[in-house]
Amino acid sequence: MKKYILKRVLTSIGTLLAIILILFILMRLMPGSPFNDEKLTDDQRVALYEKYGLDDPIVIQFGRYVVNMCKGDLGVSYKISKNTPISQLIESRLPISIGIGFYAVFRGAIIGLILGVIAALKRDTILDTICTIISVIGVSVPSYVFALGLSYTMGYKWKWFPMLYDSADAFNSSIMPSIALSMFTMASIARFTRTEMIEVLGSEYMLLAESKGLSGRKLLFSHALRNALIPIITVLAPLIVDLMTGSLVVEKIFAIPGVGSLLVNAIQSNDYNVVIALSFIYSALYIAIMLVVDILYGIIDPRIRLGKEGE
C-alpha cells in the first residue's frame, strides 16, 4: 500500500512539474513582456533584467519559477486590474467557485444515486425508463444549456431566483448555477449506479443474504448499495473535470465572481499572466483530486493497487 501511494504521489509531482514547465515555456513565448512595452533605455532594461533575475541561466529561472508557483506567488495581473498580485485576485474568488462546485457534486451524487437505485430496483418498468431518459438527457445536454434554460425560466420569467449572482444573497443565487452544474454529475452517477446495482442484485452473495432471511432494507443498504458504490468512486474524477469546464461558462452566465469567470475574462482581455496562473491552479486542484481518488480507490479495492504493483 505504501509503495502504491508513493508511486502515485511521485507521478502527481511529475505531472505538476511538467505542467509548470509548459507554463514556463508559454510565459516566454507570449508576446509583450512588460519590459519591452514601455520606453526603456538599454541600461534600464539591463538593470530590470538583473533585478528580476532574467539574465540567470534558464534552469535557475525555471527553478525559481517552480518555487514561486508553489509558494503561491503567481505573478501580477497586467490588464484586468493593473499590477494587482494574482493571488490577491483569486483569494476571494476561489471559495465561491469551490462552494458551488461542491454543492453541485454533492447534490448531483445524491440525486443520481437515488435515481440509479430506483431504476435498478424497478428494472424494466416505467420508472426505470423515466430514470434512463433523465440520465441520457443529463449526459448529453451541456451544462450551460441548462444554465441558460434555468436562467430564462426560473430567473427571468418566474423570478424565483436572482438571475445574476448577488453576494448579499449568496445562498439563493448559487442555487441555479449549482443545479445546472450538477446535471451531468447526476446523470452519470445515475447511469453508473443502475448498472452496478443490477449486477450486484443478480450476484450470488445477494441470493445468499436473501436466503438468510435478511430484511429488505438491510439487504439493500448494507449489501447491495455498499458494493455497488465502490466503482462509483472511479467516475468521480472525470466528473470533476467536466465540472471545472462547465463552471467557466456557468459562472459567466450567472455573473458569479468566481475563478471561472476570472479565467474567461482573462482569456478575453489577453491577460496572459492571469491565464497561466489560473491554469496552474486548475491543474494543481485537478491533480490533487485525482491523487485522492486514486488512493481512496486503492484503499477500498485492493485489486487496483496489487494490479498496478504487479506491472
Binding site: 511538467a18 507570449m30 445536454v141 467557466l248
Partner: protein
Amino acid sequence: MSDVTYVPTQEDFKLKNNSEELGLDSNYASQNFWKEVLIRFFHKKSAVVGLILILLIILFAAIGPGMNDYTYEGMIQEEKNLAPRVSWLEGLGIFDGSETVSTSVGDVQVNKYEEGGLTDVYYWFGSDIYGRDLWTRCWEGTRVSLIIAIAAALIDMIIGMSYGLISGFFGGKVDMVMQRILEICNGIPRLVIVTLLLLILKPGMLTIIFALLLTEWVGMSRIARAEMLKLKEQEFVLASRTLGAGSFFIIFKEVLPNIVGPVITQVMFSIPTAIFTEAFLSFVGLGIPVPRCSLGSLISDGYNSFTTHPYQIIPPIIIMALLMLSFNLLGDGLREAFDPKMKEM
C-alpha cells in the same frame, strides 16, 4: 482391423491450392459478425432513433444553407432581429413573425415584418442582431461543428489507437514509459491545454481540431491497450507469430480488426465531447473567428440577447443538444451491438 494397407501415391502429396477454402469452417454455418451486429443494433430503438436524427442533421447541414437565398455572412441592415416566420405555418398563428416584447407598459405583441413592410420576406429561424438569416447560419454552424468534431474524433482514433496498441503489445519497459507519459498527459486538465494552446495559436478551425487532438486521444489509447492486453495472449496471435509475422503485422493486421467494435464505439462517444468542447471554446471567445460560425458561437451570440429575443438562441441549442443526444444514443447502441455480454452503461 482391416488388413488392407493404404499405399500413398504421388497424387496425395500434390499441393491442393485451396487457400480460399482454408478460411472457412465447414463444420459450423458461418455467422456473419457484421450481420449480427446490425441485427442487434436495429433491435435497440433508441440507437436507431439516434442514427436517424444524426443522418437528418447531417443532411440539413449539407443542404440547409442552400435552401434559401441568404448567405451566412450577408447582413441586411433593415431586417434585424426578425422573429421566425414560415410561409406555410403563418395561417396557423405560429411562426408568423410576431414576438412578445417587454416594454415599460408591459408585454406587447409585435410583428416587425408588418411594421417594416416586409410582407414577402421570410426568415425561417428569424434573423440576428446584424440582420443575418439564422436558418442559414445555424446549418452552416452545424456543418462547421460537425466537421471539427468528426475530424478530431477520427484523427484521435488513429493516434490513440496506435499508441494504445503499441504500448499494450510490447509491454515491459516500452509500456512503462508510454503509460507514464500518458498519465502525465492525462493529469493536465483538458481545459488548460485547450485554453493555453489557443492563446498562442491563431483561432480557427484547424487550431480547434489540433487542440481537441491533444486532449482526446488518451481515452482511445486506454481502450486500445486494454483490448490488446486481452487479445495478445490468444492463440491466433501465437499462431501468427509462429508463422513468422512481424510485430507490426500482428498489431495492425491481426489484432486491430478484432477491436473495431470498441474503437468505433469510443469514436461515437468522443464526437459529442468534441462538439461540446468546441461550443465551450466559442462561448469563451476562443472559437471560430467571425463571420464564420459554429453551433457554439451561435449560442454565444444568442446569449447576448436571449432575454429580449429568445428565438435567436433556441435553434442552435436544440440542434446541439439533439446532436449530442443522438451520438450518445448511437454510441450506447453500438456498444451493446458489438458486445452484448458487456454490461450496459
